[in-house]
């Protein structure tokens, strides 16, 4: 929409800003745009040349990113939902080392937790293929000969320790038996709790990082 009070450059900048602010709720976008427009009008009223209006604002996409990051981080911090925190940390991971490390560790723990949880129904369907296989002693030379093609990576270890789901059960003994259920439930819960705690810690650290840098 054309704004007769603003020069073309400022209008185009506001249009690009509106596009980059799309992840935010409509009300927030309107407030940010209205405030920037008010700033431009005030500057024009003070006699600032139209060509210098955008000085200090930078690229519309970079300016928008500050708002979008802050919105998702603060929302994740206040609501503490796992999905919200993953979304916020994933957004910030490319620009913050703390965010990147936190995101990688959270994904690692999350994958382990989900893997352990998935093993439970698989144990009911394929009782012989889920468990913990140990080929002792662990420091012995490679002895395990793969008897079949490797399946999806839902097991850890190939030589002396195999845990989780094995497409082809190893030739050495399974040691957990019925304890698979409580142990895998415990692993799933602990991993998901660890992921949640890591995400919350990462969100808190990134917010503090922001405060230190900008206040």
């Amino acid at each position: 929409m054309t704004d007769p009070l603003l020069p073309l450059g400022a209008q185009q900048w506001l249009d690009r800003l509106a596009l980059s602010l799309r992840p935010l709720p409509r009300q927030e976008v309107d407030a940010i745009l209205t405030e920037a427009r008010a700033h431009f009008l005030d500057r024009l009223g003070q006699g600032q040349p139209a060509g210098q209006l955008l000085d200090g604002f930078g690229e519309a996409a970079d300016y928008a990113r500050s708002f979008v990051d802050a919105y998702f981080l603060e929302r994740a911090h206040s609501r503490r939902s796992i999905l919200g925190m993953i979304q916020a940390v994933a957004r910030i991971a490319r620009r913050s080392l703390t965010g990147a490390v936190g995101f990688a560790l959270a994904i690692l723990f999350g994958s382990l937790g989900v893997g352990a949880a998935l093993c439970l129904p698989l144990k009911l369907i394929y009782p012989d293929r889920v468990g913990l296989w140990l080929d002792l002693p662990l420091n012995a030379r490679h002895r395990y000969v793969h008897t079949g093609a490797e399946g999806p990576a839902m097991n850890i270890g190939h030589d002396h320790i195999v845990v989780g789901f094995a497409t082809t059960p190893p030739a050495f003994p399974e040691v957990l038996g019925g304890w698979v259920y409580p142990i895998f439930i415990a692993i799933a819960i602990l991993c998901l709790l660890a992921m949640r705690a890591l995400l919350a810690r990462t969100v808190r650290s990134v917010i503090q990082e922001f405060r230190r840098n900008r206040l």
Binding site: T34, R37, A38, D55, G56, F57, S66, L215
Partner: protein, 97 residues
């Protein structure tokens, strides 16, 4: 801290805050830094905002005020700042003696 201090006792809008920070605090911060910072402080509930349409202005302006939570935060930051400058001051004085 300077921004919270500026909003203590008086509401201000973005451009005015920018000008006051530049002229009175000597902080040459850019528009692209100030507005996202105000947004974050508002989200943290350290400041509150309201739109006002004044008679002299042709458009509404967003005015920011320090909240009670912001006042507490400012007191903490001021205490830390004063303690740090006091320590650093004594250290620098010792270096000259």
């Amino acid at each position: 801290m300077a921004l919270l201090c500026l909003l203590q006792g008086e509401s201000q809008y973005g451009l005015k805050i920018l000008e006051l920070l530049r002229s009175e605090a000597g902080l040459n911060i850019a528009e692209g830094t100030l507005y996202p910072l105000l947004y974050r402080l508002e989200k943290q509930a350290w400041i509150a905002a309201e739109w006002r349409l004044e008679q002299a202005a042709s458009h509404p302006r967003k005015y920011y005020t320090l909240t009670r939570k912001g006042q507490t935060e400012l007191s903490t930051q001021l205490r830390d700042w004063n303690a740090m400058t006091r320590k650093l001051g004594s250290f620098l004085k010792r270096g000259h003696q």
